[in-house]
């Protein structure tokens, strides 16, 4: 088991090394992409900065909280796009029969699918994420550690949710854009000040679309750590991860081959 895990880690590092090498075949293009991504993100931050400048606070949330939210969501999305974006292509693999190539290899198919695609430009999300953390006004060693941990948890949630959406392609044909849109809805939900969701809205915010686990709890934990919030966050993340893995395995069991020959 341990040897298998170490082998997967080695393979993961090898894939990442080759991704970076491929991206740097054209250095200027790679760097321009990263810079453009950072500017993209900062323009979105600017938009919210204007809102907070005009209104002061939104139901108790100030720009500091918003900056923490940007830090967590940008880092989580960067991790997803750089190391596991392949899962977003699962519907495409199912439709064109490429999934068979992944299933016939001795390594974990989910691992291979996840690492099959990476967008180098998303290193710019890390730059924005860390920049926003340092601008948040909540900078100290503890909050820095918590920010990293919460970013990782947020990544796991993004990954799990995307896996569930991608698996819809096993059941519904031509569902690439359906999955994309629902995934975008989660990110849009999570990119708003969590304080605007109260009462019934808050329940929806934490369950059907689990954006609260991406925004509300990470921000609360980084600002002021409580075991209660931490417990809710970890439980929620674990439930979604297990649910997504179970759903993927269930879908695989019901998958009939696309009859495409090929070796990967």
């Amino acid at each position: 088991m341990a040897a298998k895990f170490i082998n997967l880690c080695k393979l993961f590092l090898f894939i990442q090394k080759s991704n970076i090498k491929t991206a740097f075949l054209n250095k200027s293009d790679a760097l321009i992409n990263i810079i453009m991504m950072t500017i993209n993100n900062l323009s979105f931050v600017f938009m919210w900065w204007i809102i907070f400048e005009n209104k002061g606070s939104i139901n108790g949330w100030h720009f500091g909280e918003m900056a923490l939210l940007f830090a967590v969501t940008n880092n989580a999305y960067a991790t997803f796009a750089l190391f596991a974006r392949g899962i977003q292509l699962l519907p495409e693999y199912i439709e064109n029969g490429n999934l068979d190539n992944f299933l016939t290899t001795p390594k974990s198919s989910l691992f291979l699918i996840s690492t099959s695609e990476s967008t180098f430009a998303n290193w710019g999300d890390y730059i924005t994420g860390f920049l926003m953390y340092f601008l948040s006004g909540y900078v100290n060693w503890t909050s820095f550690g918590l920010m990293l941990l919460c970013s990782f948890f947020a990544f796991v949630l993004l990954y799990s949710f995307r896996l569930i959406m991608s698996c819809l392609a096993f059941i519904i044909s031509d569902s690439q854009r359906l999955g994309d849109n629902i995934f975008m809805a989660l990110i849009t939900f999570a990119s708003q000040p969590a304080s605007i969701f109260t009462g019934w809205y808050k329940i929806l915010f934490l369950t059907v679309i689990p954006a609260g686990l991406l925004s509300l709890y990470p921000v609360n934990i980084i600002k002021e750590f409580t075991w209660r919030d931490f417990g809710i966050l970890t439980t929620g993340i674990i439930i979604f991860l297990l649910l997504s893995l179970k759903f993927y395995n269930w879908c695989l069991k019901h998958y009939s081959s696309g009859n495409r020959f090929g070796v990967r």
């Binding site: 293009d29 991504m37 359906l178 849109n181 809805a185 849009t188 605007i196």
Partner: protein, 258 residues
Amino acid sequence: MNKYTSLFLISFKQAWNKKANLSGMLFFLFILIFIYNRLWETISTESTEEGLNRVFIWYLLFAEMIILSNPKIDRILFDDIQSGTMAYYINKPISFFLMRYTEALGNMSVSFAVMGGFGVVITLLLTGNPPFEIWQFPIIFTICFISSCINVLMYTAVGLCGLWLASIRTLGMAIERLAFILGGAIFPLSIYPDWFIDIAKWTPFYSFYYLTIKLVYDFSWTNLMEAFLLNTFWVVLMGFFIVLTYKKLTKRINVYGG
């Protein structure tokens, strides 16, 4: 029947039959309207300005109809250029550029109409009466549809940049963000400081999005004419760019092959 009309109709029917895609898009639109309605409601409650959500959610609906109906024509064109598919079409008795653009228009028209119908019902339920008169609705709807056609044309130009760039994903995203910020596609430009609006006025995003969508809460024939004239100016400029790029692209394919 004209071959381009046939292409438009085929693409229209194909898009209409992709029910899963349409449902996903409507779900996303619903989430957007729902979230920003909550946001503006909260801001309205905290400030003295009442009914902000009524004005801004109708504004957001038309903005998103323009943005979301774009069928990612930039990526399709980029793939055609990079994979060499374009070479197969270039010697056919049909303009490759017009073929892709017409197909995109067919796809966009379905999304625009479906989102329009669904969005109007949802927005009416959430906010009540719209900030414009009922007779103004067909005019606003039509001018937004024209903006949507221009939006598709702009992304066509982005796709043609595949002639020089190794990847256009980030450029496409940058254009989208500029539409959000300089075009006021999420928050109207009226909430931004004057210096920022002065910068935005020099960009095509200002007329493609803001001037057009602003008619929702500030309808006047003067504003309509201003939007029309500025849009025409930018479309002519963009047309020049597209024609030049397309000529260059065709020449390169004729010389080097696909």
